[in-house]
Amino acid sequence: MRVLFLVILMLNFLYAHKLYILGDDDGKTLHIKSYFTKSSFCQDCQVEILDVDKKILFKGKTDKKGEIYFPFIAKKIYIDVVASMGHKNRVFYESENEMISEDKNESYVKILLALGIIALIFFVLRFIKK
């Protein structure tokens, strides 16, 4: 009974210090949350985003809630989180979302707008020159 109690205690201890990493994205932004337990967030922890070749894409530190956001630029990545006291974990993250190029549609609108403005400027110029 005593041994079982010690094993449970040890497991609980190990469980409490396991670093969990949750990743989520909406096709534009990658959201990472890191924690030890539901009430113990991995605050100010070093986060690295690596591509499939283990090349670092982004680096940053989590906030008080153990959260951090990065631009979503690759569907398959590794997420490394390093906390104090040498606690660290790495997870492979694969998104099912298609990458959304937010600026693309916006850029087309701006290009059309600019061409319209150019036409308008020269139309006014023609009117003035008459």
Partner: protein, 199 residues
């Protein structure tokens, strides 16, 4: 080739703005009513040229097209390029309003060189091809040189950036040389009036 805001010293910004505004005002005065559509088309062409990106290694470069614009428009290139740069700065953050004068100067002065080259009389077809290539090649080279000089004039800190700016634009010089050569040859065949419309 756009210099962003907050980099250049005020004296360079003011100098560039004064020169560009003066030449643009002169060009506007000289502009004839029938030339306006052509100037507008080239303004749109210059604006769109910046969005045609060519991947070179890990980076990409974009077309400038100040050679062909200058060859056809002459001093009116200041109007086309100035308006296009203003819209690029306002809508896309390429360059900026405070650097508009300097950027226009760096792009449009080499366009005048293209105009001068275009009016050199050449009979031989090979020399003609070289001339058309130069109309694309030399203005971009001069623009890159002027851009680098502008950066270098702002102090030693920007000298490495000035070198990078020149080197990274070297492929554009060649690409524009060939594009301009083909474009003018094509225009000469299908729409020669456009090459003679502005004097």
């Amino acid at each position: 080739m756009h210099i962003s805001e907050g980099i250049l010293n005020p004296e360079i910004l003011i100098g560039g703005a004064v020169i560009s505004i003066s030449i643009t005002a002169y060009a506007l005065k000289k502009l004839k009513n029938e030339e306006i559509p052509l100037v507008a088309v080239f303004s749109a062409l210059f604006f769109l040229g910046s969005f045609i990106h060519i991947p070179i290694g890990p980076t990409s470069i974009h077309l400038v097209l100040n050679g062909i614009i200058g060859a056809i428009l002459g001093i009116r290139a200041f109007i086309s390029i100035g308006i296009a740069l203003l819209l690029q700065g306002l809508l896309f953050g390429y360059g900026g309003v405070s650097t508009l004068g300097v950027n226009t100067f760096n792009m449009a002065i080499p366009a005048l060189l293209a105009y001068a080259i275009f009016h050199i009389h050449v009979e031989n077809s090979l020399l003609k091809k070289i001339k058309y290539f130069s109309i694309g090649f030399l203005p971009v080279t001069l623009s890159a040189l002027m851009l680098s000089l502008t950066l270098a004039l702002n102090g030693e800190v920007l000298i490495p950036a000035a070198k990078v700016a020149f080197i990274s634009n070297m492929p554009v010089m060649l690409i524009e040389g060939f594009i301009t050569m083909f474009a003018i040859t094509f225009l000469e065949k299908v729409y020669p009036q456009v090459l003679k419309s502005i004097k």
